[in-house]
Point group: C2
Chain length 176, copies 2
């Protein structure tokens, strides 16, 4: 039986630590000899998704487009790490449908107050003051994942350890 | 010096033989042990580019988006074969700019009359009768590539041989 190359989808509130974990995870997987493609929300929005904003429809298109891309990488034996807020359950379910069995959903479960504390760019504050519309965690909901494959906690665990937890999980279930 | 993994962009009129060559080329490269990702116009328009039509602006966005994706695959050592009409020189130049030194442009130089003969779906006829707007080769121009890296002829050469020519060219210039 061939091992399916995983697409690791990190979902969580803004400033929950998704990007930090994804960078660390990439580093550890590359060290193990894997080919890795990191798809980060901030990056793709200047390239393959530069036509999209943050409305629900655009968020859906953004995640869907990246899911198609992720699936192709997985088919070429490149491990994908997606780091997106991806706040809606139905959009995440759509990702799982597109990507299929390679899809591994990791909920980065960081309390909202902790995310606000880490917000070096002051985005939560801007949203609370009404300068940003549709900001997840302020005036737009983050729907808690109903069926994540794994949950990681960042309040008292550092990114290298979160990353190790994800790799251990994948190894345990024969996904690496 | 590291070898840059090539992005092979096949450009040419509708029914010039791009898809046939790309399938053959993929087969030969996979046989040599390479990871290959084939990005075909017809396929991506149902996935990552399903929002796009055939206006000049949409064609530009289509090729640009795929160029960003191609570049990522190349960075992960996956050879990319793009098969698109890609009729405008400025759009092709934009691809070369995005993809950089990995970009290898192959002009599939099939005479228009020959393309019409091969048109099993009858698209040229439909366009000539006015049922399709902006069809390349009928009421929309195909701008001959000014600086292709390689030209292949399909009128008297079969796809396996065209494919071999492309592989030989890449090998000769240290691109494989």
């Amino acid at each position: 039986m061939q091992t399916l190359t995983p697409v690791i989808a990190l979902t969580g509130l803004p400033c929950s630590g998704k990007t930090t974990i994804s960078i660390e995870l990439e580093k550890q997987l590359v060290k193990q000899g894997s080919q890795v493609r990191r798809l980060d929300g901030d990056v793709v929005r200047s390239t393959v998704c530069k036509d999209l904003g943050f409305s629900k429809a655009d968020r859906r298109t953004n995640i869907e487009r990246l899911s198609y891309i992720a699936k192709m990488f997985s088919e070429n034996n490149v491990i994908v790490i997606m780091a997106f807020v991806s706040p809606y359950e139905d959009i995440r379910r759509n990702s799982r449908k597109i990507i299929g069995e390679s899809y591994v959903e990791v909920f980065v479960d960081t309390p909202l107050d902790e995310c606000k504390k880490r917000d070096v760019k002051g985005m939560y504050k801007l949203a609370q003051e009404g300068h940003m519309q549709g900001f997840t965690g302020v005036d737009d909901p983050y729907e808690i994942p109903l069926n994540p494959d794994l949950v990681v906690h960042t309040a008292d665990v550092l990114a290298p350890e979160n990353s190790r937890q994800i790799i251990d999980f994948l190894a345990q279930y024969g996904r690496l």
